[in-house]
């Protein structure tokens, strides 16, 4: 019996990588639980409230988006609409070209990974440099992030030290402090050489047009301090209605994502440098990226657009812990990715229709989600969709015969008795592939079909 692609991938993950991933995400999960439950009597109420606010935004995107655009324009920001990944890349490139710019410093943004911006720009002679330490290491290694918050969770410090040595950043030294210092020294003058800074946004506020960027390394501040032009690449679902909602969202984002009370640096960017302001980019662009989001919005899985990309569902997920992020063949891995990644493909959904299967439906993802997304329900809806579209699903037992038995009580009773046959068959002869697959890892208990019903009919009732 064939198993699913993610299971096959997980079987090939080496023990060291699994230990890095498991240990890393488990520690963050534990910090998250502590920093939420130590400080709040009922964090679940906060999650529910944040979920309602984001769901409200998702349901009303059609009015929030034009309102946001008007605000951004009034703030002096140039707004670009990007229906596709290609259009988003083009928008960024044309801004660079118009300025004659060739060097970009980037803060961490998953949307830039999603639209494969780096490749696009490199092919056009532009050097986009990652300034987040994890993303910088990913870039040096020509690797991909395996986690949306901790991109190199799959690497250990020895591997990172080797990467640094290979790239001429000093002799082998795996002291985290040394690694960080070397990255810092290398990056410092790169900020000064760059023409353009690219960031994502954790939130964008509809009522004020404020772009909110949080980092723990302060790298986005350096990006914005040193360059004259700021491009913010933002998914259209990143809106929160009011500035005062940020109190709730920044709180939940940091606690859920990294187990901090608040991320170290929280930037609120209201537009380009105003006359009279001493510093900051003279030019600010916001590229609003759709790239499949309106298709997700039109589906019965639109709740996934509430996501604030904290990574808590990855950290708690037993499947992610075993398989790691690369198993998902997507920019967004883990439970949220298993919903979002196939949805963002639109008509090419079947290519990733296996991702929603990669879950025991344990519900831990929903339990930790700061915006209370019912991820298991969405995974189930996508399984139904995959089945309805006829996408093959290796290893999933066919249900036709079972459904026939389970709707005909007489046949069911016969099967209960007949099943006893398997007590006398060696595993290799059991005519049901699913049972053979079961027995590859576990023994099967003795079949006792009919025994309970017989007992019920024949027992002496207690008085």
């Amino acid at each position: 019996m064939k198993s699913q692609p993610i299971d096959t991938f997980a079987a090939g993950v080496d023990a060291g990588t699994r230990a890095s991933v498991y240990g890393g995400v488990k520690a963050v999960y534990q910090k998250r639980t502590k920093v939420l439950f130590d400080h709040y009597a009922d964090p679940d109420r906060l999650r529910a409230l944040a979920g309602e606010i984001k769901q409200h935004v998702v349901e009303n995107l059609d009015s929030y988006l034009p309102a946001l655009e008007a605000k951004l324009v009034a703030n002096g920001v140039k707004v670009h609409w990007a229906p596709t990944a290609e259009a988003a890349c083009e928008a960024v490139h044309s801004i660079m070209k118009a300025r004659g710019a060739t060097k970009m410093v980037k803060a961490k943004t998953m949307v830039s990974e999603e639209i494969e911006l780096e490749d696009y720009l490199r092919r056009r002679g532009i050097e986009p440099l990652e300034t987040d330490l994890g993303e910088f290491i990913v870039q040096l290694d020509h690797d991909h992030p395996s986690h949306i918050v901790a991109p190199i969770i799959h690497k250990n410090r020895r591997q990172i030290a080797e990467t640094f040595e290979k790239n001429g950043l000093g002799e082998y030294d795996d002291e985290p402090q040394v690694i960080t210092q070397r990255a810092r020294r290398f990056l410092r003058h790169k900020y000064l050489e760059a023409d353009v800074a690219l960031t994502g946004a954790n939130f964008i506020v509809a009522e004020s047009g404020r772009v909110v960027v949080v980092t723990n390394e302060g790298n986005s501040r350096f990006c914005l301090a040193a360059t004259r032009c700021h491009i913010a690449l933002i998914g259209i679902e990143k809106i929160v209605p009011r500035d005062r909602d940020l109190g709730l969202f920044l709180n939940l984002l940091a606690r859920s994502g990294t187990g901090q009370q608040l991320t170290v640096y929280n930037e609120f960017i209201s537009g380009p440098r105003a006359p009279g302001q001493p510093d900051g980019p003279d030019e600010m662009h916001v590229v609003l990226v759709d790239n499949g989001r309106t298709e997700a919005l039109a589906s019965d899985c639109r709740d996934i657009l509430r996501c604030i990309r904290c990574g808590a569902c990855l950290n708690v997920c037993p499947v992610y812990r075993q398989a790691g992020g690369h198993a998902y063949r997507s920019v967004y891995p883990g439970p949220v990715g298993a919903v979002l990644s196939p949805l963002l493909l639109g008509k090419r959904f079947p290519e990733k229709a296996d991702l929603p299967k990669a879950s025991s439906l344990c519900g831990a993802c929903n339990e930790v989600c700061p915006v209370n997304i019912p991820i298991p329900d969405l995974l189930l809806r996508l399984r139904d969709r995959a089945h309805a579209e006829g996408v093959p699903s290796p290893g999933t037992p066919p249900m036709g015969a079972w459904a026939v038995l389970a709707t005909q009580p007489a046949a069911w009773k016969v099967a209960l008795l007949g099943g006893r046959l398997i007590n006398h068959l060696p595993t290799s002869l059991i005519p049901v592939p699913a049972l053979r697959a079961w027995e590859s890892k576990r023994t099967l208990p003795p079949w006792r079909g009919g025994e309970f019903r017989k007992w019920l009919r024949t027992r002496r009732r207690p008085e």
């Binding site: 075993q322 519900g363 709707t407």
Partner: protein, 253 residues
């Protein structure tokens, strides 16, 4: 998940949904459920036409097949008496999963109504009948696996309350209790590697707490965990909590 919208319990007549797993493999867990309910003064009806809750196909993505089975369950458990299930998973299928796959079906209301009168056994004893302690004696240290489908329901706390109240029972905590055992229905056969690894991890934690037995409200988790332990040649004693309650109350009196 399952709370205020539930049909209140008025009488003491109940319908038992034994679950296909107990029907096929775990006859004694089903017997214990009957005996526990009767010990509480309930009249237990067993609709003979019952088969399965529909969950295998629901999780497997074949919703049309699952809906046929759920419709059969709706017909089978048509009486207004509470439906008691010795499984958090099958109970959740009735009060949550089935409603999800019937969202756009004309008979949604009947499915939702069945869900409202469906109870996981421990939840029913504590939150339906108001029983908060259990008589008798059972000398064992017990590791209680809180099965995933009881998340967000009253079941896990109810089961822990009942077990903890039995003279002689010592509940032992184990690491990463919130993590899934790796069963997951069809997941266990289509993701054999990950499912097995999750099971191994759960077993490591359980064994580290050195319990006399592993108890759960779901035989499916125990079938998976017990099966792995067996295959490894290090069997682990497992019991449904109904069997513990039955043995405590009836075997010591």
């Amino acid at each position: 998940m399952h709370g205020a919208d539930r049909t209140p319990v008025t009488g003491k007549r109940v319908q038992l949904m034994a679950t296909c797993l107990c029907d096929a493999f775990y006859a004694d867990a089903a017997k214990a459920t009957v005996e526990v309910l009767e010990h509480l003064g309930c009249e237990v009806l067993f609709p003979e036409g019952q088969t399965c809750c529909g969950q295998p196909a629901f999780n497997g993505g074949d919703w049309p097949a699952s809906r046929r089975v759920v419709r059969h369950a709706v017909r089978t458990f048509s009486s207004a008496d509470p439906v008691i299930v010795p499984s958090g998973s099958c109970a959740a299928m009735m009060f949550h999963g089935a409603a999800l796959e019937f969202e756009r079906e004309p008979d949604l209301a009947e499915v939702v109504a069945l869900g409202r009168r469906t109870w996981e056994l421990g939840d029913f004893i504590v939150n339906g009948l108001g029983v908060r302690s259990w008589p008798g004696r059972f000398d064992a240290s017990i590791a209680l696996h809180r099965s995933c489908h009881t998340r967000g329901t009253g079941s896990s706390d109810a089961i822990a309350l009942l077990l903890g109240s039995i003279a002689g029972v010592r509940l032992v905590e184990f690491g990463e209790g919130e993590q899934c055992c790796g069963f997951g229905g069809t997941f266990s056969v289509s993701f054999p590697h990950i499912s097995g690894a999750m099971g191994d991890l759960k077993l490591d934690h359980v064994r580290a707490s050195k319990p006399d037995l592993l108890v759960s409200g779901d035989m499916s988790c125990l079938m998976h965990l017990g099966g792995i332990a067996d295959k490894e040649g290090a069997p682990l004693r497992t019991m449904h909590f109904a069997q513990v309650l039955r043995d405590a109350a009836l075997k010591t009196s």
